[in-house]
């Protein structure tokens, strides 16, 4: 399972790098993975083997066509056509880790209730780099359940500064 995910991630990484669109593909695939995780209907549709592959690829094309780079759409279609739609988020996360490692960086997945501008993301990356002692690249996700603040996850480390977390602590205290 892990070997297969690594192999697909390596293949996608090499294709993206060969196409010279690694950073764009990385960002777009990251958004695709988070959308895929958040949307149960989309996940069940793209992983249902009863639905013909052409139909599933048509759905991918409808979702990404015109909104993402063609190479991003092609890579997602490749994974879905191979019947590995269920592993798509893991493959994408592994690809992002590999790309960050290629840049001598680690990936920080940052969730916030609002969209963050580039300056804020840059300050966040700098602060997380200082906190971890590593060069950090930030992947921001808008997650309304956070309520306020941010949640940063770097590998197995979670730095939770969200209002949700404080409310949960308050709930536990009560």
């Amino acid at each position: 399972m892990s070997d297969r995910v690594d192999a697909y991630a390596a293949a996608l990484f090499e294709v993206a790098r060969a196409e010279g669109a690694l950073e764009t593909v990385e960002d777009e695939l990251f958004k695709v993975a988070r959308t895929f995780e958040a949307n149960e209907q989309l996940r069940s549709t793209l992983t249902d083997s009863v639905i013909p592959v052409e139909r599933r690829l048509g759905i991918v094309e409808d979702l990404l066509g015109g909104r993402a780079a063609p190479i991003t759409t092609a890579l997602v279609s490749f994974v879905v056509a191979a019947g590995r739609g269920r592993d798509l988020p893991a493959i994408i996360d592994k690809l992002i880790e590999r790309a960050a490692a290629d840049r001598q960086q680690v990936v920080a997945e940052v969730r916030a209730a609002i969209s963050l501008d580039a300056a804020t993301i840059e300050r966040l990356a700098a602060a997380l780099s200082t906190a971890t002692g590593k060069s950090v690249t930030v992947k921001a996700i808008v997650d309304p359940s956070v309520l306020g603040g941010v949640i940063a996850r770097i590998g197995d480390t979670v730095l939770d500064g969200s209002v949700r977390h404080r409310l949960d602590q308050l709930k536990e205290a009560i």
Partner: protein, 236 residues
């Protein structure tokens, strides 16, 4: 068979003795009769008559002539022959009848003694059997009493155990009911606390959502950045 042989001997001896006695008496009687010659008798009678006549002539009375024979005392010759016959008879009886009779009597006495001994032995055996039976009866009675006593003790023990078990079960049920009630109370209180907490948190979330605009959110994020940026790197 053993009893008929002595009887036959006795009968034979008695018959022989009777025959011998008859022969003896008859023989001696005939000899005595043969010796009484009519001439001598007549001569003696004549002699007595002459003496009587002389007495009567001498002035005696007729009663003095005839002296009546004794009704008890027999004649001397008969007495002699009787003694001889009796002696012969006694001798014959001692010689022939008495040994057989003694042997028969001894055999009978032995038989009776054996029977008595057998009776004693049987009696002893019967007494032994009776003693055994009485002992067995006593043992059986003791055993039955012991079994009854054991059964009674077992029943008492069982009754006590059942009572104790029932009391224990009642106590356990009572304790369980108390625990259930306490647990239900605790659950109710915990549910109440949880519900109150959830309600409070939900209310707080609504308040936060209503009041946390982008600017306030950015202030929190800036505060987070300042906090994370000032922290020491985590040791790997």
């Amino acid at each position: 068979m053993e009893r008929t042989a002595p009887r036959r001997g006795i009968a034979r001896a008695a018959a022989a003795a009777a025959l011998l006695a008859w022969l003896t008496v008859a023989g001696f009687s005939s000899v005595a009769s043969a010796q009484e010659e009519p001439t001598e008798e007549h001569a003696e009678i004549s002699h007595e008559s002459e003496e009587c006549i002389e007495k009567l002539e001498g002035g005696a009375k007729p009663a003095d002539c005839h002296e009546a024979p004794s009704p008890i005392l027999p004649e001397t010759s008969e007495l002699v022959w009787g003694i001889i016959s009796f002696t012969v008879l006694v001798f014959a009886m001692m010689k022939f009848a008495y040994p057989a009779l003694k042997k028969s009597m001894d055999a009978r006495a032995d038989k009776i003694r054996e029977n008595l001994d057998e009776a004693d032995r049987v009696k002893t055996e019967a007494q032994s059997v009776l003693a055994d039976y009485q002992r067995q009866l006593a043992d059986a009675r003791n055993e039955s009493n012991r079994i009854i006593e054991e059964a009674r003790q077992t029943a008492d023990q069982l009754r006590r155990d059942l009572m104790q078990r029932a009391e224990t079960e009642v106590a356990e049920l009572r304790q369980r009911a108390r625990d259930d009630i306490a647990s239900a109370q605790e659950r109710a209180l915990a549910d109440l606390r949880t519900n109150v907490g959830a309600l409070a948190i939900e209310l707080a979330e609504k308040v936060v959502e209503a009041n946390l605009d982008r600017e306030a959110n950015m202030r929190i994020i800036e505060s987070y950045i300042s906090s994370v940026g000032s922290s020491e790197p985590a040791s790997s």
